[in-house]
């Protein structure tokens, strides 16, 4: 099982190669530059480091969102094209599930999130479970204020993991006080090598060509059309 991973859901872009038991190469960049310029050179870098060719791969694992629409599309388009054209497995991972793994040895609730503007966040709730952070419920697009209200009813500490932590810290502390714990610089970004481990525990997509990003919301124009038809009806 030689798997290539790629994550383009936030500005931190990463790719890694390896098996469940051994990571062979990993490459991450924090440069805020177009993913389209960096992803393939990054993949080429890990392939060269691992001294492997594409035909040696048995699978590709990609984060399918939530996150930056453009970023996710670049990752999903690349991963689908490779898996589909090589006829190998494709594994889909939530970008929030991946981020949650950075808290997999804590006994808190783990709340990875990505800012989605206008007070909203893409957020998930996870908890440590036998060495993995497993999902407590579906990832969702939610108002941070609503999410915090809900978390306040839980009688547990919550570990927040996010590249966008600074913009939300104050609000979180206001509601949760001492029960809020915050990830540090290395905890708040995803680790592409972790994806290989996650993929080894998942079923591959049954139809590679049908894989789509998780946007968690309709495009603006689609929302408007829906609203119009509701108003008419």
């Amino acid at each position: 099982m030689m798997i290539l991973s790629m994550d383009t859901s936030t500005y931190v872009l990463g790719t890694a190669i390896g098996t469940n038991s051994e990571i062979v190469a990993e490459w991450t960049t924090y440069k805020k530059e177009n993913h389209s310029l960096r992803l393939m050179p990054g993949i080429d870098e890990v392939m060269n480091q691992a001294n492997l060719e594409m035909k040696n791969l048995t699978g590709i694992v990609v984060t399918t969102g939530p996150g930056s629409y453009t970023g996710v599309r670049i990752g999903v388009a690349t991963a689908k094209a490779m898996a589909s054209s090589l006829g190998i497995s494709l594994y889909e991972i939530s970008s929030l599930e991946l981020l949650a793994q950075n808290g997999k040895y804590t006994n808190t609730v783990i709340c990875p999130f990505i800012d989605a503007r206008r007070g909203q966040v893409y957020a998930g709730l996870y908890e440590a479970n036998d060495g993995d952070a497993s999902q407590m419920r579906e990832d969702e697009l939610v108002l941070m204020s609503d999410l915090l209200k809900e978390l306040a009813t839980l009688d547990r500490n919550v570990l927040f993991l996010s590249l966008d932590l600074e913009n939300h810290k104050e609000q979180i502390q206001e509601v949760l006080g001492e029960r809020a714990i915050f990830g540090g610089a290395t905890d708040n970004r995803t680790k592409p090598s972790e994806m290989i481990h996650l993929a080894s525990k998942k079923d591959a997509a049954t139809n590679v060509d049908k894989v789509v990003p998780r946007y968690l919301q309709l495009a603006e124009a689609e929302k408007n059309i829906q609203k119009e038809s509701r108003d008419d009806g």
Partner: protein, 339 residues
């Protein structure tokens, strides 16, 4: 290799397309997943929606293209893709797919300019002879391109405001026709005579540029005034009169360009080249001045990947191979550059 087999990908606007073309001339397959029905409900192309559908459909369309040609990747010599211009989010899907496929199968990646693609559709039905002139008319473009030799592009005239297809869509909306408006106006125009005197935008005497916003406003004003006076609006009269203005300007520009540049051919291409009135007026004029006219059939005039495969053959001969950093460029200029 003289006749490479090229897998071409095109996603610059709302069509997800893949094709296989041999030697820049022979179409082995040509697949297009059209999104027209989806964007119709929005009254135009919505970029975010287009990008979403490209990601969803891209690899399926490529598979269909290979299957239709009865080929595998072992038979493919290069991958070509539209680098620009177009919608940035849409271009990105095609570009990243093409890079991934080329990398996975160790194939050279050929970047193609969308307009060069439209022009080289001519090679799929005939043979371009240089020097040649091309008039590219679509929802996004109105350009006159002079080509002294193969692979050289000199844009001698462009629209200064709306693309001709854009003017068609706006006028169509004004008189209550559905999107895309071009074919509806063309059909209605055949039922009437051009009785309303809409302006012709000639601009300066020696320019090859175009301007359609004045014409569009004039149609909008006319409709508005008729309504205010409580008079009936005859859509077919408006369609015929609007189209007459467009056709007259396009024919004048194209004819003057082929004569002063002394070209052997005129190629008329792009989505609007499907228009019957434009086709027949161009045919009459070019016959009279003795210049060969090539207008590809409708399926090769609208956005497709076969045209990208045809244009990619020129890049293949120039050895214009892109690296792994290739990006979609929404406002890519049409030049004769080699990277």
């Amino acid at each position: 290799m003289l006749t490479p087999t090229i897998l071409a990908i095109e996603t610059s606007c709302d069509e997800t397309a893949a094709a296989i073309v041999r030697g820049g001339k022979e179409i082995l397959s040509n697949q297009v997943a059209s999104q027209i029905a989806i964007h119709e409900q929005f009254g135009g192309v919505v970029p975010e929606v287009a990008s979403r559908h490209h990601v969803e459909n891209m690899t399926t369309v490529i598979k269909h293209a290979l299957a239709e040609a009865n080929l595998t990747y072992d038979d493919v010599d290069a991958v070509a893709v539209t680098e620009g211009p177009g919608l940035v989010g849409a271009l990105l899907v095609g570009v990243n797919t093409a890079k991934a496929v080329a990398y996975a199968h160790n194939l050279p990646l050929l970047p193609v300019h969308h307009i060069a693609g439209h022009i080289h559709a001519a090679n799929l039905v005939d043979t371009i002879e240089y020097p040649a002139m091309a008039l590219v008319v679509s929802g996004g473009h109105t350009s006159l391109v002079y080509m002294e030799t193969e692979g050289s592009y000199d844009v001698i005239g462009e629209t200064r405001d709306d693309a001709v297809g854009e003017a068609y869509d706006k006028v169509a909306r004004t008189i209550g026709l559905p999107y895309p408006g071009g074919p509806h106006i063309d059909r209605l125009a055949r039922e009437a005579e051009p009785t309303i005197n809409f302006p012709r935008s000639w601009l300066e005497e020696d320019t090859y540029d175009f301007s359609f916003s004045g014409l569009k406003s004039s149609v909008l004003n006319y409709v508005h005034n008729q309504k205010q006076r409580g008079e009936d609006i005859h859509e077919e009269d408006i369609a015929a009169s609007f189209q007459a203005s467009i056709v007259e300007v396009l024919v004048e520009r194209a004819a003057r360009a082929v004569l002063s540049y002394d070209t052997k051919q005129l190629i008329v291409t792009g989505g609007v080249a499907a228009n019957q009135a434009i086709r027949s007026a161009m045919k009459d004029k070019m016959e009279r001045i003795g210049v060969q006219l090539i207008i590809p059939p409708l399926s090769l005039c609208t956005d497709n990947a076969a045209m990208i495969g045809a244009a990619a053959f020129v890049e293949w001969k120039k050895k214009n191979v892109a690296d792994l950093k290739l990006n979609g460029v929404p406002n890519l200029p049409l030049t004769t550059h080699v990277r």
